[in-house]
Symmetry: D2
Subunit: 121 residues, 4 copies
């Protein structure tokens, strides 16, 4: 069993022990993902981009950031479990799609020549 | 190497091949997570809760839902990689915290006696 | 002066009295909007669609919902103020664009024949 | 009639002409707000904080930013209309609450001495 399947089992047991399954339809869980993503944003909204690396390493900040990242992951895994999505396979399929959409820069072309504005990446 | 570490390596290679690292500070990536979570919400915003399970199984819907779930995961993994968060460990720590906050119902207490409204779960 | 301009003045005074302008660049404020939108979602994530109307009228729920709606509006107005967007004009322009994208149903065509799934409305 | 009430009337007419009311319960609309907030984030996710002011003034960027801000406002106004929230009053009430939570700096205290990290503002 993979590490992710193991942790998925732990999440499933957590939900079952509390009888929360009736609340975990895909719509509710997608909303929960957005809500947790909003909390992750809250952690970083007032810090400037160029200070964000250093900021997230501060002992008084890091724990909150980790917790919010974990909450996004937990709700997303609950969503995938309910819908029947194998997340690792879905990631790999999506990376292939993204590779078509954003081809690697050709030789001689500047890597990182990122098209800003880049609203739809 | 775990399955998740493998896929993380693939994501890292994808980013490196395009020279995107300079854009991937933690603030930008947290914003990208919120943006992808918003797209996941978009897939499910007009469907009623009690039809959401059936809806996400429709062949013409499922692919989009999988893609959006994958995008949330990809941006979240990029975020964790940049900040140095081991996501599986973070999930386990957070589940323990959540267990303190939402204790299992005691014997005789209705499981699933979910306190609705439940704004801060 | 319109009611909205008045309330914008009050928000501006609130920010100035606390010296928060340096934190209010458009990126930070867009992130703050997402964070407040996430909190609005949190209020409604566990309630079924068909009970959401009744739910939001409950005295113990309504205040929280109002507060979160207000926070989304406040951060959005701060964003518009910083960027120099006249929000009412922007809404009217966008409604015109949306009208092209979603034409009114023609006579004989069912109104409300909403194309579900409707991922990009 | 205030400017905001006027534009609310236009939004209401837009929705009625398309027969969309059945889809506009408060849960769906909260989700739509999150989805539009995500699109606003998408516009600004790759630009550094200290370049965001200049960026949002670029002619090729500004229109998209305005459109996304308008979409957040439109969905939020639909939400308030459905729930029966007078948005301007709600904003004023919330500003008063926020003033208690974030008192003005006293004389001699540095204005703008913003407590960063500031995860719960």
């Amino acid at each position: 069993m993979s590490e992710l399947e193991e942790v998925m089992g732990e999440i499933r047991a957590f939900v079952a022990a509390r009888g929360w399954e009736p609340f975990h339809d895909p719509k509710n869980l997608a909303m929960a993902v957005a809500s947790e993503a909003g909390e992750l944003c809250a952690e970083l909204r007032w810090i400037a981009s160029d200070r964000a690396d250093e900021f997230t390493q501060r002992p008084d900040v890091r724990q909150g950031v980790e917790d919010e990242a974990a909450d996004v992951a937990i709700t997303l895994l609950m969503f995938c479990d309910r819908v029947g999505i194998d997340l690792v396979s879905a990631i790999r399929r999506k990376l292939k799609k993204n590779a078509l959409r954003y081809p690697e820069p050709r030789e001689g072309q500047a890597a990182g020549a990122f098209p800003v504005p880049e609203p739809e990446r």
